[in-house]
C-alpha cells in the first residue's frame, strides 16, 4: 500500500459530499434528508456535506419511484458523478414503488434498473439516523483503497 493511497483514504473518510436527486417522491423522504442537516442529527459532524451538486458528489441519494421524465436523465446524472461513487436508495419508493406501484401508475420502479444501487434504506419515510448510518457504513466499503482495488 502506497503513501498516496493512505492520504487518499484519510481524506475520503472525513469528507464525503452528498447529492440527492428526487426522481418522483412525495417530499416525505426529502425532509428526512433535510432533518439530517439540522442540529439534532447534525450530519456534518461526521464529515458529510450535502451540496446537492452531482459534479462534486461522492454519494448519490436517490429518492422516489422513477417517473417517465427521469428514465433517461437519471443515468445522465449518474454518469456525471466523478469516480469513486456510490448510490443509496432512500425510502420504499426506489425499492418497490411503495404506494405508487399500483394499477394505472406512471412510475417504473425499481431504480436498480437504471443505476447500480449499493445500499437501500427502507421505510416510508426512514428515520434520519437510518439514513446517516447507511451512508456511514457503505462509504468506507467503496472508498477505502479504491485505486488498489481497480483491475
Amino acid at each position: 500500500m502506497s503513501i498516496l493511497q493512505d492520504i487518499k483514504n484519510a481524506v475520503r473518510s472525513r469528507s464525503i459530499h452528498v447529492a440527492y436527486v428526487d426522481v418522483g417522491s412525495c417530499n416525505g423522504c426529502d425532509i428526512e434528508v433535510l432533518a439530517c442537516l439540522a442540529p439534532r442529527y447534525d450530519i456534518e459532524q461526521y464529515g458529510i456535506y450535502v451540496h446537492n451538486n452531482p459534479r462534486e458528489a461522492d454519494v448519490l441519494l436517490v429518492i422516489g419511484s422513477v417517473t417517465p421524465q427521469w428514465v433517461d436523465k437519471l443515468r445522465d446524472i449518474w454518469d456525471k458523478i466523478p469516480e469513486p461513487k456510490v448510490a443509496v436508495a432512500i425510502g420504499n419508493c426506489p425499492i418497490s414503488g411503495c404506494v405508487y406501484a399500483r394499477r394505472g401508475t406512471l412510475t417504473t420502479p425499481p431504480v436498480e434498473n437504471y443505476i447500480p444501487i449499493a445500499a437501500q434504506v427502507p421505510g416510508c419515510p426512514p428515520r434520519p439516523t437510518e439514513i446517516l448510518s447507511a451512508i456511514l457504513s457503505v462509504a468506507p466499503l467503496i472508498f477505502k483503497d479504491y485505486e488498489e482495488k481497480q483491475p
Partner: protein, 123 residues
C-alpha cells in the same frame, strides 16, 4: 462602452439551490433575464390515475402522499370532498379540531421552508 451578450442559460433539472427538480430556460440580455421557459412534470406520478375507480378507503392514504411536507391539508381536502358527496355534516367539535390540526401543519410547513431557504444561502 459595456458590451452585452445574449445568452440562453439552461438551469436544472438538478440544481444546488432547488429541492425539487424543475427545468428553466432563461433568455438573457447582459444581466437582465428577458424570458423564462418553465418545464414542469418531473414529479408526475399519476396519482389521479391510480385513484380512479377505487373505493375511498383505499386511496385515502394516497391523498397524503401528494405532498409529504403539507400532508394534512391534502388529506383534509380529500375527506371534505367525500363528505360533500355523501352529505355528511361535521360536528362543531370536529370542525374546531380540524382548524387546530391545519394550523399546526401550516406552522411546520413554514418552519421547513425557512430552514430550507436559510440552508441554501448558508446562513
Amino acid at each position: 462602452m459595456k458590451k452585452t451578450v445574449d445568452v440562453s442559460i439552461p438551469l436544472g433539472p438538478v440544481h444546488p439551490c432547488w429541492k425539487e427538480p424543475v427545468r428553466l430556460k432563461c433568455e438573457t440580455a447582459g444581466e437582465r433575464v428577458l424570458r423564462v421557459e418553465v418545464e414542469l412534470g418531473y414529479m408526475k406520478k399519476g396519482i389521479e390515475r391510480i385513484m380512479r375507480g377505487r373505493p375511498w378507503q383505499e386511496v385515502m392514504f394516497l391523498a397524503e402522499r401528494v405532498c409529504g411536507i403539507c400532508s394534512v391539508i391534502h388529506n383534509m381536502v380529500f375527506i371534505e370532498a367525500m363528505e360533500q358527496m355523501s352529505g355528511i355534516t361535521v360536528p362543531d367539535r370536529a370542525a374546531y379540531l380540524r382548524v387546530v390540526v391545519n394550523e399546526l401543519d401550516r406552522i411546520v410547513s413554514h418552519l421547513i421552508a425557512n430552514f430550507s431557504y436559510c440552508y441554501t444561502i448558508e446562513h
